[in-house]
Symmetry: none
Subunit: 216 residues, 4 copies
DNA sequence: AATGAATGAGGGTTCATTCAT
DNA sequence: AATGAATGAACCCTCATTCAT
């Protein structure tokens, strides 16, 4: 019996996460409004009623999904940036490539599409997202660029603009993967890592002073 | 009678467009599923029933909205690319800047968010979008880059990757404007033209051969 | 102009009847509730609005349809019964055969199906129908049978029962023609006059005293 | 739990039948189009939504109502006809009287009115009805009459006509009961069994050879 | 008189949520 | 804790009716 209970308890403790995973998948796939609460429950392997034992409403479920994926998503990046001691170009390379691996290649990447589709319907989420994601991510990348400029590695470009030039394609790629990308034949889909490498090289081409040595 | 009818007919002929405009706004704002048919009607200044005199269902209305904004959206760009006789760098500058003005600054820019949120629910739309927008737009930009490479103006980069590096930030910016951007204080919003100018400069920095002269 | 007006006026004066005809057809075909007012108008060759110039509502149109077809439908039969001087058997033969020709073979035959389907939704119609149709028709046939009994031509059967035995099959045949009959291949449909002749012969076989001479 | 579930399951299992019963009543009373789905639900003692847990649409509910009442409705009659060993006249008496009791006196009798009012709107129902009801019922009665003719009990009448002469009044009576009959004072309504007895006697009077002995 | 665009109440159907078991 | 039957508010869509032309 203790054994059964152990399984049961493990099962029970896994429930919220299983529900969040199912919800993320479906909300990203079909949108929040077009997803039925029962679908989420079924995909998580429980009944409709059980969903409501863990989340008081479909909307709270959405918020939980978002909260989970936005918290401490950027903490890791910040630490990497602190410790790194190579050139700024190399650091950017490192940061964005790692970020791609950790976030964009995972199911969590859907969160970006989800944010895009739902912020305007749930305004409280907007501020949360700005504070937890945009702000810190912008800061990390911005600091590296600023450091590159200060060190004479980069030209004196407009830093906020440069951040967008670097980051937006990656985010967009990730959104694409969950919208059009999901409708096209898989071989059509862009090779992520390959693209990132060249993209950073291109933008660095504009960032680097002409007299600076090219990065490896 | 002719006069009376004229007024009436003008009204009637304007209805479809008024409805499409209202629908675009609302579908972009709240998503297709979360928008009530009656809301669209009211924003267009008519009653619920009137909507159905012009479009047989909410779904057909969505398709009409999309069809209208995707048709011949890229034709203009193609012509500009044909006629242009300056350097490829200048042509890219010209193309993207003009595209920004014509599309992204207009209400039509919302169509990108709409596509992202709805393609997976309406698969027929995906193919249509690929054929009418992605394919031709990719070709135009791709041809310019290829020409630059052939002429010795650009380095021998991977063309499809380069297209994405150039274009995705603009699209993403535009999506952003209709999602997070609509939730933040207006002064936070990025300056479009300024960004575009620097973005192109940055990427061109990576595209141009180091020994080539910088564009004006 | 006078000529145009003449046509117009003729046209106009024919309108109510054209509308009634169209309404009868459609109400019989699809039922009152399932028939749209506009359908009636279109079948009558006018626009939706015009229908309402002649009848204030769909329900009033139904009542007009019914009233038209029930009034004086039986008057003719009554007179024939008065004048006839042959045997009662011959008279019944005559009456029912004629009734079949005049009523059941005409589009007006649909009125029976219409009554069946709609009386319960429009109770005021019931009394009207009883008074105008059932009562007089019953009386006419009943009188003939009663006379036959009084004269010693028929056995002393229950008269109301006998009326039903004679008349119900004809009515049912007629209802059938507008329901199942309309769904089957036309060659399947029963030959009306042939049936009537044998039906009356059969029932007369039971009515006539065994020692009476058979009718021609 | 088993007990609780038992009650619950019994409830759930009874629902479809309760809904079918309510639907039959209302569709017969008001017609299919004029009956609201919610009315059916309320009469069955459940809420609007519950109806849709058991039947996917109002139209499917109609089909279920019809299917239930037409299946195996005539099987019993066929068996009785097989086993019977009296005279054909007695057999007809028996068959029709029994049919009256079993079908026409029950709420199921409404199905005839329902068929009449709805076949033309749901063509698939027509074929079904012909195959399941008309065809077999016609055969049973037809065989008895034919046997009577073969045995020299009946005259050589036209069999299909004779079938109609026997059966149509009963069907019509039954239709009447759910249309006009429901609008008249109850005491006006014809006495079914009494009528059937005399009706059969009358028609048999025409069927039987004059030299044959009258049935008891 | 005739039209047909417009209206909005009404009915079919869905689905978030509740609650008895 | 888990289920799933039941509810009813809400939404899509239809159509009887109106009315400006």
């Amino acid at each position: 019996m203790s054994d059964d209970n152990a399984i049961r308890r493990r099962r029970k403790e896994a429930r919220p996460q299983e529900l969040l995973d199912a919800a993320l998948e479906l909300f990203v796939e079909k949108g929040f409004a077009a997803t039925r609460a029962e679908e989420v429950a079924l995909r998580a392997g429980v009944s409709k009623g059980t969903l409501y034992l863990y989340y008081p409403s479909k909307e709270e479920l959405l918020k939980a999904v978002i909260a989970q994926h936005l918290s401490s998503q950027v903490a890791a990046g910040a630490q990497a940036a602190e410790r790194f001691d190579g050139s700024c170009a190399e650091l950017l390379n490192e940061l964005l490539a790692r970020w791609w691996e950790n976030v964009l290649e995972s199911p969590a990447s859907g969160i970006f599409k989800l944010m895009i589709t739902e912020v305007r319907n749930f305004p409280e989420i907007a501020e949360y997202y700005r504070r937890e994601v945009i702000e810190p991510a912008t800061q990390i990348v911005g600091q590296v660029i600023q450091r590159g400029i200060d060190r004479g590695e980069f030209r004196a470009v407009d830093v906020p603009f440069a951040i967008h030039s670097l980051v937006l394609p990656l985010v967009m790629l990730c959104v694409h993967r969950h919208s059009m990308g999901a409708c096209l034949p898989p071989d059509t889909v862009l090779d992520g890592p390959g693209f990132i490498r060249q993209h950073i090289a291109l933008v660095l081409g504009g960032l680097l002073r002409r007299d600076a040595p090219l990065p490896a």
